[in-house]
């Protein structure tokens, strides 16, 4: 107990120095928690943008369709019966999709603009329940199940000079070899942040698409949305082991670059911690070592009157650990608070920055953080380790200290 008392009071002997050191440590820890939360938010957004809008966490289709999509390679609209029971428990929702290539035209005569586009037929109710497609609407509204509705990507709408309510001529080949054509009405315009995608993509109601393409009751794929996206690979393996008539492709296969980042994510976090704390270690070490040098004679006196080196070492370690742990806890709370605020109230930076397409996803200009146990605890644990590390040299010096020599200087 007396060691605790001395350690605590020693820390406040040079109040200004301790306050400055603690301030630097708290700031470093808070910024580190925030940085890791921001990285997690960045990764979360990357995965979500790639999966939750269009692709889902698992892509279910006939074997070979994912690698080489062919109009005629379809599966039943009702997929539920083909999924193993264990998989069903992990599935949050299913979105059927039908996709084809078509020419979309707007205007007449010399004003006519035509663009080859990818058309995706979607079940608007399933999308509203599971995906975030509807969140991308920037003009008009999402599909409502009415006949002949179409949603255009912002870039595509610009190219063919279509507006809300414009008539779009759809022209394609149906699965039975006939010509599919229809006049559709622009119900909404969307922007996903991926300009390339938005300039060649359109959505329509799946029932309309099935009729136009002569694929009634059939779809090309089902997108499974899972409760835990990180389980996609395992769930896909279970489906593939159970059912040979369909092929499950997890998002990690669809977006290998994002999956690769996940593989090295923990190493990136540790590396970030190391960079932050390398500078912090020097500051803390300076405080601890100066405090030790100033008190060499005091330590010699304590040894002379009967305090063993082990207890003195405990005193030095305690001072260092109190400094590190208190700073770490305060820093963690500040950083975590910032992360929580930015999780619920992300800051939109689109006035200054543009979104970037990368790895099949998009990076949005949003300051968004995800608070996680790891991003909170890692900096705290590292700070405590730092406490042990900076106490090491003073303790080593203590074990070499000869009381009689230090006392002679008194």
């Amino acid at each position: 107990m007396v060691i605790w008392r001395i350690a605590w009071r020693n820390l406040w002997r040079n109040r200004r120095r301790t306050q400055l050191t603690m301030g630097a440590m708290i700031f470093a820890c808070a910024m580190l928690v925030f940085s890791l939360g921001y990285y997690d938010g960045f990764l979360w957004s990357l995965i979500n943008n790639a999966t939750e809008k269009e692709n889902g966490h698992i892509f279910l289709a006939r074997p070979g369709y994912y690698a080489n999509p062919v109009l005629e390679d379809t599966v039943s609209e009702n997929i539920s019966a083909q999924l193993p029971t264990a998989v069903k428990e992990q599935v949050k929702g299913v979105c059927p999709r039908l996709q084809a290539y078509a020419l979309l035209s707007c205007g007449t005569g010399q004003e006519n603009r035509t663009q080859p586009s990818q058309i995706v037929g979607v079940d608007f109710q399933a999308e509203l329940a599971n995906s975030k497609l509807a969140g991308d609407i920037v003009a008009g509204s999402f599909l409502s199940g009415q006949q002949r509705e179409i949603l255009l990507g912002q870039g595509l709408a610009r190219k063919i000079k279509a507006e809300l309510g414009s008539e779009i001529i759809f022209f394609s080949n149906a699965a039975d070899g006939s010509i599919a054509s229809e006049i559709l009405l622009v119900k909404g315009i969307f922007s996903s942040g991926d300009n390339l995608r938005d300039s060649a993509l359109a959505f329509m109601n799946i029932v309309d698409a099935q009729q136009l393409l002569a694929l009634e009751g059939r779809v090309h794929s089902h997108r499974l949305f899972l409760h835990n996206p990180m389980q996609a690979r395992e769930v896909a393996e279970q489906i593939n082991d159970h059912q040979k008539a369909i092929e499950a492709t997890p998002w990690q296969t669809m977006f290998p670059q994002i999956a690769d980042i996940l593989q090295i994510w923990f190493a990136i976090q540790l590396f970030t911690v190391a960079i932050y704390y390398a500078a912090m270690a020097l500051i803390t070490f300076n405080t601890m070592y100066m405090a030790f040098l100033e008190r060499m004679q005091e330590f010699a006196v304590m040894q002379a009157i009967g305090l063993t080196r082990r207890r003195l070492a405990r005193l030095i370690l305690l001072e260092s650990l109190i400094l590190a742990t208190v700073s770490g806890l305060i820093g963690m709370m500040l950083g975590a608070s910032l992360n929580i605020v930015l999780f619920y109230y992300p800051i939109d930076l689109s006035r200054w920055l543009e979104s970037i397409s990368w790895g099949g996803s998009s990076i949005q200009p949003v300051l968004f953080c995800v608070p996680s146990l790891l991003s909170n605890l890692l900096p705290l644990l590292a700070m405590i380790l730092l406490g042990f590390a900076v106490a090491a040299l003073p303790i080593w010096r203590l074990y070499r200290l000869k009381p009689v020599e230090a006392l002679r200087e008194v």
Binding site: M1, V2, R5, I6, R9, N10, R13, Q297, E298, V301, M302, Q303, A304, I305, G306, L307, T308, R309, R310, R311, P403, V404, L407, V410
Partner: protein, 228 residues
């Protein structure tokens, strides 16, 4: 009973190529209850001999027995424990722990000796009163005068009930009045409680009050006078 017994005790320092015999073949016995002083000019070996007896330094040759135990063979930790239970130190510069109050500085010894907390006040408060420190127990060293600090140091040295108190120039930093007061207090403790004191000092006031004067010159005992 012998509290301290040294035989052929020597401490030689290397000063470059030259050897300096700080203590040279000293045979000395200090008996329980003595009030003795190691006297002599600067560099005569007083402090070195005190450090050897206190187990702070190791002899080059010879032996030191403290209350019958041979100190030479003890490890550093064993010496530290021996100092904790058998020796009380009083230093020239007081050397109190600055972050502890007067009471806590004295209590520190009892705490590291493992004496139960319930006994601390009963042992510390009478001692502080005896040394004229009542009312000052909650002050930190920086709030005490030099004389008061040295009296706290005396209380700290005595509270653990050691076999001997080793005091290295205890009056050197004190004004005349404080020095006399301190010496009288220590003398009274010696007379009333039979506490054994061994000083190193060239202060005439210490030499005057001591019962035994051991004079050192060039590391050797040149005179050993017991007063009646």
């Amino acid at each position: 009973m012998d509290t301290v017994l040294t035989k052929e005790l020597s401490r030689i320092y290397q000063n470059g190529a030259a050897e300096v015999k700080a203590v040279d073949s000293v045979d000395l016995t200090i008996e329980s209850g003595e009030f003795a002083v190691l006297a002599g000019p600067s560099g005569s070996g007083k402090s070195t001999l005190l450090n050897l007896i206190g187990g702070l330094d190791r002899p080059t040759a010879g032996t030191v027995h403290l209350s019958g135990e041979l100190l030479n063979e003890k490890t550093d930790d064993e010496l530290t424990r021996a100092r904790l239970f058998k020796i009380g130190f009083i230093f020239q510069a007081y050397n109190l722990i600055p972050v502890l109050t007067a009471y806590e500085n004295v209590q520190f010894i009892l705490q590291i000796q493992g004496i139960p907390d319930s006994q601390h006040a009963d042992r510390i408060m009478p001692l502080l009163q005896e040394l004229g420190l009542d009312g000052l127990e909650h002050r930190r060293p920086s709030e005490l005068s030099g004389g008061q600090q040295q009296r706290v140091a005396v209380a700290r040295a005595i509270v653990g009930r050691p076999s001997i108190i080793l005091a290295d120039e205890p009056t050197a930093n004190l004004d005349s009045e404080s020095a006399v007061n301190l010496l009288n207090m220590m003398h009274r403790l010696n007379l009333e409680q039979k506490v054994t004191f061994l000083f190193s000092s060239h202060d005439q006031r210490v030499i005057d009050i001591a019962q035994r004067i051991i004079s050192l010159r060039d590391g050797k005992i040149c005179d050993d006078i017991r007063k009646n």
